[in-house]
Symmetry: C2
Subunit: 344 residues, 2 copies
Amino acid sequence: MLLIAGVILSLAMLAPPALAQGSQEPIVLRGMGSFHVGGRVVEISGKPIKEVVLGAGGVPAKFDPNGQYQVEAMYVQYFLPKERKGKYPLLMWHGGGLTGVTYETTPDGREGWLNMFVRNGWDVYNSDAVERGRSGFAPPDMWKSEPSFLTKANPFERFRIGQGAGSWNADPSKMKVLPGNLFPVEGYDNFVKQIVPRWIDTDDAIIAAYTALVDKVCPCVILFHSQAGGFGFKVAQARPDKIKALVAVEPAVAGDVAKAGALKDIPVLIMYGDYIPQDSRWPKMRQLGLDYAEALRAAGGKVDVVNLPERGITGNSHMLMMDKNNAVTADIIQKWLAEKGFVE
Amino acid sequence: MLLIAGVILSLAMLAPPALAQGSQEPIVLRGMGSFHVGGRVVEISGKPIKEVVLGAGGVPAKFDPNGQYQVEAMYVQYFLPKERKGKYPLLMWHGGGLTGVTYETTPDGREGWLNMFVRNGWDVYNSDAVERGRSGFAPPDMWKSEPSFLTKANPFERFRIGQGAGSWNADPSKMKVLPGNLFPVEGYDNFVKQIVPRWIDTDDAIIAAYTALVDKVCPCVILFHSQAGGFGFKVAQARPDKIKALVAVEPAVAGDVAKAGALKDIPVLIMYGDYIPQDSRWPKMRQLGLDYAEALRAAGGKVDVVNLPERGITGNSHMLMMDKNNAVTADIIQKWLAEKGFVE
């Protein structure tokens, strides 16, 4: 039985992606660049002026903390293939505690979904949510909470890489990896370097900036992961006319069930990896997504839910885009988008 | 006199870059991606466990702040042109309060130096210094200082865009721009969105990560700006065998004069923009750089200092790579690298 599962998995991993070119082919772009979008200006007043030296050996400068500040804008980097095949821009939104790096090179050095979808001919817009990465974060008192930091152990035990609480160990030989797991554990330390601090009360600012992005570059397809379930579904509910399709990769948060009708004309793909029944939190999180899918269907919407193990694709962690079979999962998404008519 | 200066400037701006291709040509890459490098693992203990909901509507998770943390790693994104003409990788290091976005699209939407040097055939490695952008920042108590935030007015008045203190105004019609300034003032609000918080006691961590990058991808050429003067010159002094050339763009900090001899075999280009004599801080900062250049020469080194106004190129702010004539300044750097034998 284990052997059979292994054979199925190996075949799935060996199957060449239908549309992605081999990684030896050059990437030909008609353009690439970045911009910031959204945000607001706030005023700080009544604070004392400081004199600081910015860098050892530098010349002292007066630092007056009072004045207007730009906060809550969002960084977006784009790659536009010369031979465009995706009918609409493809927006990639990462999960909590992470940045757009999620979709770049995998922690073990393979190509990520960003390159794969650019190779497939999509104009890809990859962003860092407000508060994270190149979006920066706001001065004290702007947000109510303090930033949270993740230990090295936390994602290992929470992202279905290891066998739950206590499975991580500083000694790699003592780590308890889930059997057959496809996360590139040899690159786990690299993955942890991608983690950035997170706040827990910034959802409204994040959604505002994502909405500004949609207003700027859509109509589009949005692909989103984990925490961004709440952002992807909610922004689509606010701007249904601008969203052509939604790809929800292990959404940890769902949309607003009461507003499900807004998405009735938008095809939705929801994808889940392996090991969910044995996890302490993921059965409930998946159920949130499945309940939302039912609400979308009840409102006349079309939702395809892919539980990868049901297709014989086992071993996927929460970080599907980094797992060893990320070309296989990218290909499932690509084919779904093609079936829905979004590939020329 | 003003008219003559205007004519010279216009000619300089109209002169086509010698090696950069027109921006309509596709960018052909043999690869692109990213990685994190360097950093260290620290232990936090004795803090209480919290239960938090990560995102509205999410499932509560236990947040134990105790454990091992990865801190002080650095994000690096790379673009590798198919037709490589630069003999060595070109590393781009940004200035204080900023990230690698410095070298991407300009605030008014033109191509930045990143694209220009990739088009010129350089393998470009663009990084976010430790503490900033996609490198993330460390938990409380790891660093002694608090993060500093820049007002919207601050860079306008300090980067030789406006006429010093008090020159910025929320009302664009009341801004006092330096006459003839080439910073894209119409994109100033976009530029401000690129600013990220900075710490003032992280130089050692930043230098450690840059050194790790040099150990990973060099021999190389390093191009660095403003605050990164301290990083570029110092890392080169620590790894002289791995550095083939240094391009210091308005370095605000110099290297260690006592160790200038380490750079005697490394060609150095130092470039300064306009308006320095009339600025409150830049005469002293430029003098620091000129004194260091003299120390390098006294130790047998070769340094070329380009004061752009002396070449008839007027109007440059501190953000040379964003100014309207950024193709002209990129071309000066490109030609210098070619003269030194680093272009094939």
